[in-house]
């Protein structure tokens, strides 16, 4: 009855999504352009995880324990309801980041870790911005601004206008800067979400 040292029959020889380099599992990455912020690189990674309670805590702990501050975080379901996707943007040097990737891969609930730092991606953030308006001129100005940035006006009342902006982080930044000449009442931004272009899986 003792199967303390028993073999497990249907463990896949190679877990799906695991990439190898010299026979060593490694996080996946590709070549392209780097985004720099000061001396450190901004890394964008996708983490595919089991859709279970506690997983986000396990993942974020890997960063927190090593003193990393997350720039942005987005969690959502995927095309497969048993899998969630965590998209994280974090600043750090390559070596430290490699460590993080390796430690993430060790988590049982992590299925795949993809480093998009150098990937050809479509990446989007969404922001909702509520601006105070007390006259028609301001309202018109904001409307113009919205058109310029292809933002949408999603709510209007006598004293406020709400804009929805979708785009890369710098576009959302730009809209925010422009709107600062008015009175921004409230602002909320999602984390960055990304998908690779073409047939390549993210």
């Amino acid at each position: 009855m003792s199967n303390q040292n028993g073999t497990i029959s249907n463990v896949p020889a190679q877990a799906p999504g695991m990439e190898m380099q010299n026979g060593v599992p490694t996080i996946v990455s590709a070549a392209g352009v780097n985004v720099m912020s000061g001396n450190e690189k901004l890394h964008t990674i996708s983490i595919l995880v089991e859709n279970r309670p506690g997983v986000l805590a396990r993942v974020s702990h890997v960063f927190a324990r090593r003193g990393f501050n997350l720039e942005s975080l987005a969690v959502s379901r995927t095309e497969d309801h048993t899998v969630s996707r965590i998209t994280i943007v974090v600043a750090g040097d390559d070596e430290a980041f490699k460590q993080i990737g390796n430690q993430l891969l060790k988590l049982i609930d992590v299925i795949k870790v993809i480093d998009h730092t150098n990937d050809n991606l479509v990446g989007r953030e969404l922001a909702l911005i509520k601006v105070h308006v007390d006259n028609a001129a301001t309202r018109a100005e904001i409307q113009q601004l919205a058109e310029l940035f292809r933002a949408k006006i999603v709510a209007v009342d006598p004293t406020t206008v709400m804009l929805e902006v979708t785009g890369k982080a710098d576009k959302v930044d730009a809209v925010t800067t422009m709107l600062q000449q008015h009175e921004i009442l409230e602002l909320v931004r999602t984390g960055l979400v990304v998908l690779a272009r073409g047939e390549k899986q993210t």
Binding site: Q4, I8, P12, N22, G54, I108
Partner: protein, 637 residues
């Protein structure tokens, strides 16, 4: 799939009549849990009961396949499970109730995590409807332990128990082993299990690939480096013990005639006293092991993680060596030291592959040099004055011939044990390395002995080398050892102080003693008697051998209370964060050049003159110097 025990296995008549209801024909969660544990081959459970795990203890009391050992503290139970696992290679199992029972397990869980010990920790939890409501003895042990477990579960459905147990044991023992926590709400254990009990044959965890065969090209690349090396060294650790690869290691080391140094947790992986054995390396390693590492041109690192207690300052450690690094945990490869050839695999299989492709070699010049170093600079200590702890260990080595399983606590006595005890076999040196947990030694010894009694090595003697500080951290387990008749021989190296801390205050804080005096309290021999064990106090060298012999003959628990010299410090020493050039071998504080005095001064082989000259020049200055280094942040202690 196996179909087991749909009906309960106990004859109704033998049980309390009040419980005879129609439920008898149905298993509850607690019974399903125990049945699943049995399917995993569990024979022992260490722990303490309490409110939230009453259902499990109730079920435990009605069966006899699993030996339920009641400890006196959950931490003790945790270390017993660890000792059991380390001695046998099987998964150690322990249990505590919710709240304080669970938090008492935390140190042991962390210890198992740091030392990669295959263990499953069961914790009670308040009933599902009370979770998150600050119920009595509720604590979020799942959350608390997240960073210190290999994986964890909270059971939400009685139906999930078999799958979760199956996965937990699979995860605990495969790949890089480690602790898995299963948190069990009280009502899960009480609830009826719907349907027939089926234990799964397999697990499916798509995010977990514990191991794969090592890549052929990596094996070939390693073979190439090995063929080219002139001064190779095998640097071996816990990874060898944990997959029982000692035989393969011996065959491989002999085939390529390569010296072997072991880490603290690697003790026992290579037979002590072997001509190729360089003994332990690192902060308190032998001079010859550290020198060999420094001059090596190839490090074959097997199941090690280049810990800071080994490398000191990794930037200047083994500066001329290429590295072949074999480890079951890919995250360790290149983590501290770049490896020219990283190999992901278990050490046993990789060694077998090496043995196939690597041609026999001789390294006579290299080995002759090391032989000379061993002769020139053996482990040594000041013999004048009070009873020396090193002497006690030398006598223990003589009396046991390295055949006993030895556990240790943490402190000077631990380092002396690692230096002077030479285990013949793998799984014979059980110590808390990564976490350095005082209070580990005695419970680990009980666990190891239980593992032996359960059929692993029934005749093995188990010794615990402990200190007066450490022993008191789990001394209450004497009751467990005595009452269950789990005979362990305990050698207390009693220096009336927190010796290791005292040594550091001596070296780095100019002897400003602070918080290290344990006075002569308690009398450990009397404590032993109070627990109905045998206690003996030894003060002189000439009593040591007899006392050990008597203890060996004694069938029960024995506490040997050795009153040792508080000034006996651990040498050699390379202070934390420093290099081999900072090694001192005695209290004079003289730094010994690599290769010894004779070499660097071109002397006659014993370097006596140079040694004396340097002694006058530098004597006693190290304390001040290291004190400065400490303030400058260069010393990592």
């Amino acid at each position: 799939m196996r179909l087991v025990a749909w009906r309960r296995r106990f004859p109704l008549e033998t049980h309390n009549s009040a419980l005879k209801t129609h439920y008898w024909s149905i298993m509850d969660g607690a019974e399903i849990l125990l049945e699943s544990l049995k399917q995993e081959g569990c024979d022992t459970l260490f722990g303490i009961s309490g409110g939230a795990i009453l259902p499990i203890y109730d079920a435990l009391g009605k069966q006899s396949d699993i030996w339920s050992i009641l400890t006196r503290h959950e931490q003790g139970a945790g270390h017993m499970a660890e000792g059991y696992a380390r001695a046998t290679g099987r998964v150690g199992l322990c249990i505590g109730t919710s709240g304080p029972g669970a938090t008492n397990l935390v140190t042991a869980i962390t210890d198992a995590f740091m030392d990669s010990t295959p263990t499953v920790f069961l914790s009670g939890q308040v009933a599902t409807p009370n979770i998150g409501k600050d119920a009595f003895q509720e604590c979020d042990i799942f959350g608390i332990t997240m960073p210190i477990v290999k994986h964890s579960y909270m059971i939400k459905n009685t139906q999930d128990i078999p799958r979760i147990v199956k996965e937990a044991f699979h995860i605990a023992r495969t790949g890089r082993p480690g602790p898995v926590l299963i948190d069990i709400p009280k009502d899960i254990g009480e609830r009826e299990f719907q349907g027939a009990f089926e234990y799964p044959d397999s697990v499916y965890l798509r995010g977990y690939q514990p191991e794969a065969p090592a890549a052929d090209e990596q094996i070939r690349a390693a073979a190439q480096l090995i063929a080219e090396a002139k001064q190779p060294i095998l640097y071996v650790g816990n990874g060898v013990n944990s997959v029982d690869a000692a035989d393969e290691l011996l065959a491989f080391a002999e085939k390529i005639n390569c010296p072997v140094t072991t880490t603290l947790l690697g003790r026992g992986a290579f037979p002590g006293g072997h001509a190729l054995a360089l003994d332990m390396l690192g902060m308190h390693g032998t001079a010859y092991a550290n020198w060999a590492m420094h001059e090596s041109d190839l490090i074959i690192a097997l199941g090690v993680r280049f810990d800071d207690r080994v490398t000191g300052n990794p930037k200047s450690w083994a500066p001329n060596a290429k590295v072949i690094h074999v480890d079951i945990d890919p995250a360790e490869l290149g983590k501290i030291r770049f490896a020219q050839v990283p190999i992901w695999g278990d050490v046993k299989s990789v060694l077998k592959q090496f043995l196939e492709v690597v041609a026999p070699k001789q390294h006579s010049v290299w080995n002759e040099k090391l032989e000379k170093w061993k002769a020139d600079m053996p482990l040594d200590y000041e013999k004048e004055g009070k009873l020396k702890p090193q002497f006690v260990l030398q006598e223990l080595q003589k009396a046991t011939q390295g055949e006993a399983i030895m556990t240790t606590d943490v402190g000077q006595h631990q380092m002396f044990a690692a230096q002077y005890y030479h285990p013949k076999q793998t799984r014979s040196f059980i110590t808390s390395g990564g976490l350095g947990t005082m209070g580990y030694g005695y419970p680990a010894a009980i666990g190891a002995k239980v593992g032996c009694l359960q059929g692993h090595r029934p005749d093995a003697d188990v010794w615990c080398i402990t200190g007066d500080g450490s022993f008191q951290m789990n001394i209450q387990e004497l009751a467990t050892g005595v009452l269950y008749d789990i005979p362990v021989k305990i050698a207390v190296l009693n220096n009336s102080s927190l010796g290791m801390v005292r040594q550091w205050q001596k070296l780095f804080y100019s002897k400003r003693w602070s918080g290290i005096d344990l006075a002569k309290c308690p009398d450990f021999a009397k404590v032993a008697e109070a627990y109905s064990a045998t206690g003996v106090t030894i003060t002189h060298e000439d009593e040591v051998a007899d006392a050990i012999r008597e203890a060996q003959k004694n069938p029960g628990t024995v506490v040997l209370n050795f009153l040792t010299d508080a000034e006996a410090d651990v040498y050699p020493m390379i202070p934390g964060g420093k290099t081999v050039h900072d090694m001192v071998v005695d209290g004079s504080g003289n730094k010994i050049p690599v290769g010894g005095w004779a070499k660097s001064h071109g002397g006659n082989g014993n370097g006596q003159m140079e040694r004396e000259a340097l002694e006058t020049a530098t004597s006693g200055e190290y304390a001040g110097e290291w004190n400065d280094d400490l303030k400058a942040g260069q010393l990592k202690i």
